[in-house]
Amino acid sequence: MTSDSKAYAIEADGLTKIYGSGNTEVVAMRDASMNVKQGEVVALLGPSGSGKSTFLTAVGLINPPTSGRITIGGKLVLDGETAQTNLRSFRREHIGFIFQKSNLIPFLSAVENVQIAMELNGESKRSARSRAIELMDYLGVADRADNLPSMLSGGQQQRIAVARAIANRPSVILADEPTAALDGHRGRQVMELFAKVAHEQGAGVIVVTHDHRALDVFDTIYEMEDGLMHEHND
């Protein structure tokens, strides 16, 4: 670990998450720490129920940890459950998400789902649309731009979600099994896109994945087990 925190896109420090209380108490994450440099692409592996999604949503500022500190781009944003800034606008400006299940707004067309993220961030309708089409073109779904999510396959929906996540050029990209619904080729393409965005924009990327075929794309590999985080070394 270097002392120069500016070089870090993400610093997660001693995150613990306890769901419920008493008999139903579940410790999903124990003292998990991870630092991701700008431009670094991290894979997060681990068995089901090990706490990967819990960690990712904590770093994504939508599921605050019970204790621990999260610093993004050098700014302390969460200290335990206490927000140090307006989390929602911080998410909008700095964080892109792709979740396990595709999460598109059902009443917006594919292109509008990408567009909305940029419009919310203050971009004009016109430039938002052209960038949305551009991203979708790269991901091979431009021809479905005007379809509603319900008319798209799972893989197509996932690619729209990827386009939405990177549309605002975030400094942090968090992806929870983004390639589960994609074939090997498309899956690899998405991973490579993350690497490209990370390297070009200096974003920190964390990808939860089970797909061991594409691991060569990643700079670092972490593994979670029973709520504990450790770096993976082959």
Partner: protein, 403 residues
């Protein structure tokens, strides 16, 4: 990008059906107001149109529109003699119910002071005012008679010579205008048998009367027709209408006439007030309360609909929060849908009402002021009813997008 309209387009069928439902409800609210306006208008139209400055009625009664009023026919001449009075007319007014083609036909019979008043002031749709002193009438279109049609009333047959519209009694019955003498003939029509019985009754009363025994001539008098007997009063009239001469002081004239012990006098405005405060007041309250209830119901239904529309969007709202949409965007989404629902509902209410209200048996008058008021109410309930949905939306955690 407008999320509200995008969502509406996506759920168009349901939204349209909801808007139609709200529209129908608002149409009823609108109609209730219109019915009240119609009642007031119908009730006061006659007073407004007939153009009398003062009404002389039976002492201590509130006039022929409120209750039974009886004044002697010669009151017309007494009134005409008062300084400042330009002319005076009889007012004879009563409602009858007859049968026509198997249907009950209610007619408000109004006597015109022939020959000074031939009904020129009555707004005619077809035909002409009265042209002779007997057996002609002008009827309101709600009575369903056309020019040339004949109707038997009492012992005579009356021919429709003109038709008018919106001349309706406060009870909602169409008015038929005839001359005063005809109106009285209709009102006091007595069958031959009744006349014979009355004559016999007079004779038997006379026979028990000492003076009649001493003077047989009197008994003979008792057998003569009513009109020839000085002791029996002529048929009475309902009221006398007075037109003041130009520049006359109405207060002076009123003061003079109210000095007479047998009558009360009201200005036209006073008569109008009495009518509105009396019979129409209860209708107003009744309809007013009903309107308030309907408005509350509309608001509750709208709130429930907007709430369920919001519940359906919980996942999208959570997702919007997750990607950083500020509260104003989410509030705007729900509020705009509420307003669109309200405005479209109002439009439907107005358009359907325009087609439907003229088919109602009584007049439904949609005044602009009422429309504006209702529009304000609709905006208010749209905003209020979206509160429940907004409250729910504000509570949604972005986490719910993942579940």
């Amino acid at each position: 990008m407008n999320l509200a309209t995008k969502d509406i387009r996506h759920n168009f069928g349901r939204f349209a059906l909801t808007a139609v439902g709200i529209g129908m409800l608002l149409m009823v609210v609108m109609g209730m107001g219109g019915i009240y306006r119609g009642v007031v208008e119908d009730a006061t139209l006659l007073i407004d149109r007939v153009g009398a400055d003062l009404w002389i009625v039976q002492r201590d009664t509130r006039g022929p529109f409120a209750e039974l009023s009886r004044v002697p026919a010669n009151l017309v001449y007494r009134a005409a003699a008062v300084p400042g009075v330009q002319s005076s007319r009889e007012f004879v007014y009563h409602t009858i119910q007859r049968q026509r083609d198997g249907q009950p036909l209610r007619i408000a019979v109004l006597g015109l002071s022939w020959p000074t008043d031939k009904g020129e002031w009555v707004p005619l749709m077809t035909g002409r005012p009265l042209g002779q002193s007997h057996y002609e009438m002008i009827t309101d279109k709600t009575l369903g008679m056309s020019i040339g049609e004949q109707l038997n009333l009492g012992k005579e047959t009356y021919t429709v010579v003109g038709t008018t519209s919106n001349m309706i009694s406060s009870g909602g019955d169409g008015i038929a205008f005839v001359t005063v003498t005809d109106a009285q003939a209709i009102q006091f029509d007595t069958p031959g048998e009744a006349v014979r019985l009355e004559r016999a009754a007079r004779e038997s009363r006379g026979e028990a009367f000492e003076q009649a025994i001493q003077q047989p001539m009197m008994l003979e008098n008792a057998g003569r027709p009513t009109v020839q007997i000085p002791a029996i009063a002529r048929p009475q009239i309902s009221a006398v209408m007075v037109t003041l001469s130009h520049g006359a002081n109405p207060n002076e004239v009123t003061k003079t006439i109210s000095g007479w012990g047998d009558v009360s006098v009201y200005t036209a405005e006073g008569q109008r007030e009495l009518l509105l405060k009396g019979s129409v007041e209860k209708v107003r309250k009744q309809i007013g309360l009903f309107r308030v209830l309907l408005t509350i119901i509309a608001a509750i239904i709208m709130a429930l609909i907007l709430y369920t529309l919001t519940l359906d969007k919980i996942h999208s709202i959570a997702l919007l929060k997750l990607i950083g949409a500020p509260n104003t965007v989410i509030l705007g989404l729900i509020m705009q849908q509420a307003l669109i629902l309200g405005i479209v509902g109002f439009g439907i209410a107005y358009l359907v009402g325009q087609q439907l209200f003229p088919k109602f048996p009584r007049r439904v008058i949609i005044a602009n002021a009422d429309l504006l008021e209702l529009a304000g109410i609709v905006l208010a309930i749209s905003v209020l009813s979206s509160m429940l949905g907004i409250w729910k939306a504000m509570k949604v955690s972005p986490n719910e997008a993942l579940s």
